[in-house]
Symmetry: C2
Subunit: 463 residues, 2 copies
Amino acid sequence: MAVRLSPAARIELLTALLASFGDRATVNATQLEHHSHSESWHPPAAPDVVVFPTSTDEVAAIVRAAAKHDTPVIAFGAGSSLEGHVNALEGGVSIDFSKMNRVLRVSAEDLDATVEAGVTHRQLNKALANTGTAFWVDPGADATIGGMAATGASGTTTVRYGTMREVVRGLTVVLADGTVIRTGGRARKSSAGYDLTRLFVGSEGTLGVITEVTLRLFGLPEAVSAAVCAFDSMAAAVETVIATIQLGIPVARVELLDEVMIDAVNRYSNLSYALKPTLLFEFHGTSAASVTESVTAVQELTGERGGSDFQWATTLEDRTRLWQARHNTLYAALARRSGGKPWVTDVCVPISRLAECIVETKRDLADTALYAPLVGHAGDGNFHLNIIIDPANPSEYEAVKAFNARLVRRALAAGGTCTGEHGIGMGKKQYLIEEHGEDAVEVMRSLKRALDPHNLMNPGKVV
Amino acid sequence: MAVRLSPAARIELLTALLASFGDRATVNATQLEHHSHSESWHPPAAPDVVVFPTSTDEVAAIVRAAAKHDTPVIAFGAGSSLEGHVNALEGGVSIDFSKMNRVLRVSAEDLDATVEAGVTHRQLNKALANTGTAFWVDPGADATIGGMAATGASGTTTVRYGTMREVVRGLTVVLADGTVIRTGGRARKSSAGYDLTRLFVGSEGTLGVITEVTLRLFGLPEAVSAAVCAFDSMAAAVETVIATIQLGIPVARVELLDEVMIDAVNRYSNLSYALKPTLLFEFHGTSAASVTESVTAVQELTGERGGSDFQWATTLEDRTRLWQARHNTLYAALARRSGGKPWVTDVCVPISRLAECIVETKRDLADTALYAPLVGHAGDGNFHLNIIIDPANPSEYEAVKAFNARLVRRALAAGGTCTGEHGIGMGKKQYLIEEHGEDAVEVMRSLKRALDPHNLMNPGKVV
């Protein structure tokens, strides 16, 4: 796609931004490259300029300056998105949120907090230390809260604590013309008008730029326990998860890794788990007794399905090691193929269809030569393939593309979605239409036109 | 406001609808009157015709016929809304969903169900008997699921199981031009495109007509227990709730009634509760032990704040009686003033501000002559005043209007919302602007224009 700015307009815009932002506006080549892509296989596309605002008013000023020159703005958080969300397909201004990283307000009483969009979830949890509360959405990478809101992120604890769609209570958003609005609020619930908050959550920067986020927190559990359990077959592992969810046993995390992923994790994190389909559980409770109750119930379910004895991670240190290993699965997979590039994809299906969907997917993979370890938030029916491709081998790229299409269509046929948590970005636009139908996507386009008539907000993504 | 149809166009539309729907289209005066209002104080406004469709396709045909004559459509469920949502302000077609009352699909495995919009929540729960699952959103009145989705309803169990915004997974919607779309899906979560589901939830029929709803269910708790506890002061009762929520004790219901409401309930339901601020608790657990744990923790909190001993409702019959009495609070209040009309209002505030907000509100009420019993979903920071006015006394109407304005502004000043669950309808449009600001409401209006350019969908409501 073409860069929109003429050389003259580009100089005018750069001059204006440099005048306003000084060394917080840059055309440094390294910065432009860094802001041309995130952690995904999609072709990079550099912005014309990167600006580092420190306030919502500054973001509004950037958006107004860009709009004056009919050039796009792209919000950039931690750069950890997986479907090419930040790539500047038509050039323009990349708005880097790394200097908007203040935790503005924490209320332990109301279990909520307001943060600037550039705060990462680990940074927020550090700020919450000693408040007795925590923010629980955890997508693995240390993404920014703004980016997580924009993509509708979720992660390992969603089975208990929900997704960003459920925990974001309010937003500050800069619209395409630079107007600043506040959506939602601090009340636990509201029926006051259209739910603008949830319209912007998951809109991937295409309807407006999120600058502040009000979030629901949860109290820290009184008791926590985690365990690892291996199974002889993928079906047995998944059926254990299905039974756990259907019985309503309150697990806080239930993650599934296939034997390929376990092998990579063992090597990368110096662990020695059995090379089998494996579940990682975490249990949170208001007391040791309630955790024991959940553990006992799940142990019964694993035993009935031939699961191994639980390997416990009871100390905080052990648990941190366990979840760090889980969060490093992508790096573990990358380490298995030096020079490889990740192509990470995710789908989500109704949990009753999860076993067949994974078993068929692994059968499908066996017919390819792809290296594609599987890891998933099994309690939500959501799983990922961390495919590592050889960038020098175009046939491998084509093979992944074809596999991804089969995977998505298998998920859609099972009543699922083309992406449980990574979003549409550049990568899944065609599947969005297959999932929702042309008429529903046309509704999305009409919303886009209503809020961003000149297509300035992260163009080329979602719709 | 003017009825849009010219006499000639009206005859043409009626002829077309009668030809298609036979006796399922009616201009019977009793039916027109019945569809001119719901359970609220707002001036009634009759539609030109009422139609009883039996399928989404029929709804689409009605919408197309109405659009051809540039006349509005208004969806009508159980008629239990409280802000004049169904009043046909510009005439048009009232679409009555009472014949679209089929439960289309239940999956106990996936804990979800799909229903036609006219199914009521009690009807759904009857259909779920023996599945081990239940649908938990309970607004008191036996509202339809379609109406509950349209208003973003919640209720007594929201503190544990969420609002309609959280449990609706997908919708079938007829758009203003008669196009039928499906939003969302059956996966536990999705990041696929703009969240159309949550845009239509709470849009009060102004963006489209909801015809089918896919809902999240929950497993039935293994153990349930309910209790009543009276306090010497409103502050002590509310502070008990605040402590319960802040400690994360998993209550399933925690309802607050003031002494005025208790008096009305006692008389109406032949009960003998102490005439004091009173909490009704319900506890759900995966075992008797987990319920006992919660009960013990709450009993400690009530004791510390001077609460009475728990009066138990342990049998299903006792609990049904307790919650029936709670659900009949509006009728109980009405029975105290014969010939009175209800003016029910609700606000919701961050829970840390709930005590002061209620205490100030009761002080404010004491300065008026209004009969205004208070009842609330205290665990959510949400409370109602069931004001009963004398329709023959205009000064009372003015007094309520002024009181309502003070109440809403008190809630907004505390960081709350002008309506926790009743919606905007005709009644709270001004407060929507005060709450979100003119710019945010202008965004809502632009969405309305994008989806309903001719203002055919329930005009005069929300924006």
